[in-house]
């Protein structure tokens, strides 16, 4: 059986599940951010797969991937800046200990 659309979508779902597990279960804020990047990459694979197999002449999925990459770069820059600022003021980046706004 040759590789088709379903293979790419299943690969995307597996990568997204791994990222979801990591984002929900890790304590280190940087590891949580890394898992979010894995989830964004998984969504990008699904987008390019749809673009290649469903509408090969339109390229709309690839345009969406370019915008997702721009937003992901902005998110990573601001997220890591926030993490470094939290580390400066509280000496920890464990997500369970950063609970200043917790009720």
């Amino acid at each position: 059986m040759s590789v088709g659309l379903e293979h790419y979508l299943i690969l995307s779902a597996i990568l997204f599940s791994i990222g979801l597990y990591g984002a929900l279960s890790k304590r280190n804020a940087i590891v949580i951010l890394m898992c979010i990047e894995i989830m964004l990459n998984a969504v990008n694979i699904a987008m390019v797969g749809f673009s290649r197999y469903i509408v090969p002449s339109l390229l709309t999925g690839q345009v969406f991937v370019i915008f997702i990459m721009a937003v992901a770069a902005a998110e990573a820059a601001v997220g890591l800046a926030i993490i470094i600022a939290i580390y400066r003021s509280r000496e920890t980046i464990e997500s369970t200990k950063v609970d200043l706004m917790k009720w």
């Binding site: 279960s25 280190n28 940087i30 890394m34 370019i66 770069a73 820059a77 993490i83």
Partner: protein
């Protein structure tokens, strides 16, 4: 046939690298395996004949974001403590498995309208036409530029010494 072998190798290596990101105790090694995962995603783009996106993936993710993450790990001395799980580890695993099962079931059982038209190669000129020409995505391109400027300024303000 060669494309099939490339897909399977890239998929196995990518999933193994992603599993190492969530399972390794050393945060620095987890970040390095994240770089490997990004590289395999670039290879997956090549098997999908998206050459421009593969180059952009290597430039932005492998070159930019991973360096940013490694720098943040060095600036926050949490490497010794590793990356332990919180007490929601088992529920998170169950949620991820249930999500994967539901997604795989619905993906396999959907009748996709696969087109037989050969893909455009190379994609760079076609993508530029999509983004810049009339009726294209020129307004989102401008908004993305503004978003990146705001992100740069926000990052500078957040990490500046008081």
């Amino acid at each position: 046939m060669g494309l099939d072998i490339a897909f399977w190798v890239l998929a196995v290596v990518g999933i193994a690298a992603a599993l190492m990101v969530v399972s390794l105790r050393d945060v620095f090694r987890a970040a390095l395996s994240l770089v490997l995962c990004f590289l395999t995603v670039a290879g997956i783009y090549i098997t999908l004949s998206a050459d421009f996106l593969a180059a952009v993936q290597v430039l932005i993710y492998v070159g930019g974001i991973s360096v940013l993450i490694l720098l943040a790990i060095m600036l926050t001395r949490e490497v010794q403590q590793g990356s332990p799980s919180n007490k929601l580890r088992i529920p998170a695993f169950v949620v991820a498995i249930i999500f994967l099962g539901v997604m795989a079931f619905s993906l396999i059982n959907t009748p996709w309208q696969v087109s037989t038209v050969p893909p455009i190669e190379p994609t760079t000129a076609a993508l530029a036409g999509k983004l810049m020409s009339t009726g294209g995505f020129i307004l989102p391109v401008e908004i993305a530029a503004l978003l990146l400027l705001a992100a740069i300024l926000g990052a500078i303000v957040l990490v500046r010494e008081k």
